[in-house]
């Protein structure tokens, strides 16, 4: 049976008896895969248009500008509607010098454009800062400064973002970085500076450094973290208080910075996959999906329909898993311990499904370049179908015990309000952005995998407060269940993995792909020089913008609200630090 002949509408899935679905072994030849035992033809989601194998549809051709015209050009692009700075990748191009690729997105249409700039000076490269255009540029530029030592002029607070302040050198530079300059184990406590550093260019072309204090002498500053139960990991907020009211937050990152991007530069493409699951461990499937998709598209490999559908189901299960953990941790942070355990009770059911197919509970290692590591387990469909009604029932239970609770409503409604302009400027995607009325679901706007053939609602609210962010997540669980319901009976036959070459080499160029992770847009930016290893691999972390926005979201609220806001913004620290 040819694939394109299957034309049963995906909206009306027809339940199939389980024993008829014999898919333990993936047939290698489609024409011989006619299921003889099945009395009715298996319903399969139709493939919309078989796209031609055009190589590298995700290749980006950035517009190259000179450092002098950079700021003007970006301001112009922003005025044209590209008002989301989706990604900012610093790169050391070796001979050419160091520079940055800005990936701009139109937050309504989701068109992308890329601008590349190379700093003139090779020893102490400097560029103009764009912090005045985008709020998130503050953190992105600090990251690039930390990794490459590119100085951003007029950046208000150009400190290191991840590494210790007494770190010697910039580790991502291709040459000139000596690892032995820094100890593996720091003996002393980190000297945390209270000074914000700003660089400006004097008229005679020299760099001028000025330091301004972050906190005044008499400020009451408490350290939330690095070891604190409610920062969801090792995150450090230096919080200035006025009584119980927060007046400023200075996030201090890098306590779990493992340098995944740098390690990846020394690994072959299939090896780099291993580290993705460990970035945002609650979006393991989606992270890996993003990287696989980027490499596959760059190679021009088209994965089979079966793979696409299974990846979609797995992504949605992962999303449910992540949102359940979100619910649990939020409850825990707000003191409702019992709801925490209810969330975990149901999460175990999702993990059971994962475990059967992938073998792991948290680190799944399921997607591979060109397909999947293994086929789904024979029980997979049955268990997922059992899970869906159970989860729907339990969501009502959550509403009864937690959502409807007057204490929770009072603590979350009207707390930590973010406007649509703010979330776009900070690049807060995912549920946090959608809670502020920004339609940013990549599954709708840049469909990938099988999302273009399922019907689901993009959950958007307009309040922008903690309660909206919470409700978005619960509603997204319902939508994810709906998506899985449509696909679970319609997994088409096909190969589970394309035959790939033993040594993968990406063509020379820059590639960018993104998926909708549990917490927002997860992008992968690969610079390739034609080797079997990526020249530069950069992840657009979903969490970094979410932490960057904490200062704006929390100022003026109480310490207790910081917990609620942090909980609903839902960041995962190893994803921020990478």
């Amino acid at each position: 049976m040819e694939e394109n002949e299957k034309s049963i509408c995906p909206e009306t899935p027809q339940p199939q008896p389980v024993q008829e679905e014999k898919k333990e072994t993936a047939p290698t030849d489609k024409s011989t895969s006619q299921p003889t035992a099945a009395p009715t033809p298996k319903p399969a989601a139709p493939r919309p248009t078989p796209p031609p194998a055009s190589p590298a549809k995700n290749e980006i051709k950035p517009e190259v500008v000179t450092p002098e015209e950079l700021h003007e050009r970006l301001a112009h692009l922003k005025a044209e509607g590209y008002s989301l700075l989706e990604n900012l990748t610093g790169t050391d191009w070796g001979e050419e010098g160091m520079g940055v690729v800005y990936s701009l997105t139109n937050p309504e249409t989701f068109d992308m454009t890329h601008v590349k700039v190379i700093a003139a000076d090779k020893e102490t490269p400097y560029l103009d800062s764009v912090t005045d255009l985008w709020d998130i540029a503050n953190f992105y530029e600090r990251e690039v400064y930390d990794f490459y030592g590119i100085i951003f002029l007029n950046h208000p607070d150009l400190r290191r973002l991840f590494l210790r302040e007494d770190w010697v050198g910039h580790p991502f530079r291709k040459n000139g970085y000596e690892e032995s300059n820094n100890p593996e184990i720091a003996e002393t406590d980190e000297p945390i500076s209270d000074l914000a550093v700003k660089y400006t260019l004097t008229p005679d072309g020299k760099l001028h450094k000025e330091e301004t204090p972050l906190f005044a002498e008499e400020d009451y500053v408490i350290n939330l973290g690095p070891q604190h139960p409610s920062t969801h990991g090792v995150l450090h907020f230096r919080t200035r208080l006025e009584g119980e009211i927060i007046t400023k937050i200075d996030p201090h990152l890098g306590y779990i910075h493992r340098g995944i991007e740098k390690i990846s530069e020394e690994l072959t493409y299939p090896q780099t996959l291993a580290l993705t699951d460990r970035m945002d461990y609650l979006g393991a499937m989606q992270n890996r999906h993003a990287l696989c998709m980027c490499i596959e598209q760059a190679l021009g490999v088209e994965v089979s329909d079966r793979v696409q559908v299974i990846r979609t189901i797995m992504d949605e299960l992962q999303r449910i898993d992540s949102h359940l953990l979100f619910f649990s941790c939020l409850c825990q942070d707000l003191g409702a311990t019992t709801s925490f355990l209810y969330g975990f009770r149901d999460r175990e059911k999702v993990l059971d499904i994962f475990e059967e197919t992938c073998g792991g509970r948290l680190i799944l290692n399921y997607n591979m370049i060109g397909g999947l590591a293994y086929d789904i387990h024979p029980n997979f469909q049955r268990r997922v179908k059992e899970f869906i009604p159970m989860m729907r029932k339990n969501l009502k239970e959550y509403d009864d015990i937690f959502t409807g609770n007057v204490i929770f409503q009072n603590r979350s409604k009207g707390v930590g309000i973010l406007s649509k302009e703010q979330v776009i400027s900070f690049g807060c995607t995912g549920g946090t952005g959608r809670a502020s009325g920004w339609h940013n679901d990549l599954r709708k706007h840049r469909p990938y995998a099988a999302y273009d053939r399922v019907e689901f609602k993009e959950v958007v609210r307009t309040e922008g407060d903690s309660f909206a962010r919470y409700m978005i997540r619960l509603d997204e669980i319902r939508e994810s269940l709906h998506i899985i319901e449509q696909l679970i009976d319609n997994i088409p036959e096909g190969k589970i993995a394309e035959k790939m070459k033993p040594v993968l080499k990406l063509p020379v160029g820059s590639y960018y792909s993104a998926v909708e992770g549990s917490r927002g847009i997860l992008g992968v930016h690969i610079e390739s020089k034609g080797d079997k290893m990526p020249y530069r691999l950069h992840y657009r972390a979903t969490g970094l913008p979410l932490v960057a926005v904490m200062d704006t979201a929390c100022t003026g609220y109480m310490i207790a609200d910081l917990i609620a806001i942090g909980g609903t913004i839902d960041y995962v620290v190893p994803d921020i630090d990478r």
């Binding site: 408490i222 139960p229 409610s230 707000l334 311990t337 204490i407 929770f408 009072n410 109480m558 207790a560």
Partner: protein, 359 residues
């Protein structure tokens, strides 16, 4: 009805004959102190075990079940561990105040514990102004908490202590107001007389009917806040302040806070049982003489402990259900709602009593 003074009076007479009047009193004091401390310890263990098991039941878990059968030795091993754990002395703190703070807390809770009327004639501290004494001693605990926060030289502790001060002092008002309402009904401040009256006339919650019931609910809310228990556990709210005012305490010093926290629940529930639910008075229904006879056969302390645990059950239930409040919400609840309501209740009770509408 079993009267505990049947035991104590002959004992006193015997000791007086043996040792002389003054020495007998000293001996009795020692005996009573030993009895008090051991009951205190036993109740603490029961409470900790009960809480761990009850919360496990709420949370679809099993709870402790490996140490001893059904885990009943769990608390004992915790105590052993706690007693042999190091007590850390901190530099650059006020050591004297730092060490004395947990003792203040535990003393306050022990003294209030001594006010509970266990049975007819079995009450350790019984004044004619018992209620007043109870309120006064109970508020010593907050001094301990404030001292702990201040002397620890830790910002979290300080914030926790400040919250605790604001919270406990506020909620003491409505507790006092509610108690006043009930004193208005009983006409006495002595716990033993309050109980005796309820044994004769019926439980206060029935006698005061439409006023006593809301007063009981307000007492439960405010009492819960007094004990720093969830949803009012802001002073130690672990997700915000790691451990609040006792962040810097280790070993048995921390153990005292732990102990006092649980015993304060017992005290709070015991006073609720005394004032509203008749103390050691049995449940009687006028007219059903046979039933009443059976009820009166049950000794008073069983009634008292039973009622206390009923109230504790209510407190645990809501502890494990609700999320935590925020400090401004706590104060709003107290000053804008509970105090006006309890004032109204006081006036209402005065009206009820003066028009003779009570039973």
């Amino acid at each position: 009805m079993f009267d505990f003074s049947d035991v104590t009076t002959p004992l006193h007479a015997f000791l007086s004959r043996l040792l002389g009047e003054s020495l007998a009193v000293v001996t009795e004091c020692v005996l009573v102190a030993v009895a008090l401390i051991s009951i205190y310890a036993v109740f603490a263990m029961i409470m900790i075990y009960a809480e761990r098991k009850v919360c496990a039941a709420f949370q679809c878990r099993i709870g402790p079940d490996r140490v001893g059968k059904w885990g009943w030795l769990q608390v004992i091993s915790d105590v052993l561990k706690m007693m042999t754990k190091e007590v850390i002395n901190l530099r650059q703190t006020d050591r004297f105040l730092h060490r004395i703070a947990p003792f203040l807390v535990v003393t306050a809770s022990m003294t209030t514990f001594a006010c509970l009327p266990w049975n007819k004639g079995a009450q350790i501290i019984d004044f004619n102004v018992g209620v007043f004494f109870f309120l006064a001693v109970g508020s010593v605990g907050v001094v301990g908490i404030l001292l702990a926060g201040w002397s620890s030289n830790n910002k979290y502790s300080l914030i926790g202590a400040m919250r605790s001060g604001a919270q406990i002092i506020s909620y003491e008002l409505s507790i006092g107001m509610v108690m006043l309402t009930m004193i208005c009904l009983t006409g006495t401040m002595s716990f033993s007389e309050i109980c005796q009256q309820q044994a004769d006339l019926g439980w206060n919650i029935f006698r005061g009917h439409i006023i006593a019931l809301p007063a009981f609910i307000i007492y439960l809310i405010a009492g819960n806040a007094e004990c720093n228990r969830g949803p009012f556990d802001l002073p130690e709210s672990e997700s915000e302040l790691t451990a609040g005012y006792h962040t810097e305490y280790s070993g048995m010093d921390f153990g005292y806070y732990y102990l006092a926290e649980y015993l304060n629940i017992v005290v709070c529930a015991g006073i609720a049982a005394t004032i509203f639910l008749g103390g050691w008075a049995p449940f009687v229904v006028p007219g059903l003489d046979g039933f009443n006879e059976v009820m009166s056969m049950i000794p008073g302390f069983v009634w008292f402990v039973g009622k206390t645990f009923f109230v504790i059950g209510l407190l645990l239930w809501q502890r494990w259900t609700f999320p935590r409040l925020r400090i401004d919400q706590i104060l709003t609840l107290e000053w804008k709602y509970l105090i006006p309501i309890s004032m109204t209740l006081l006036i209402g009770m005065a009206l009820l009593v003066s028009f003779g509408l009570t039973f």
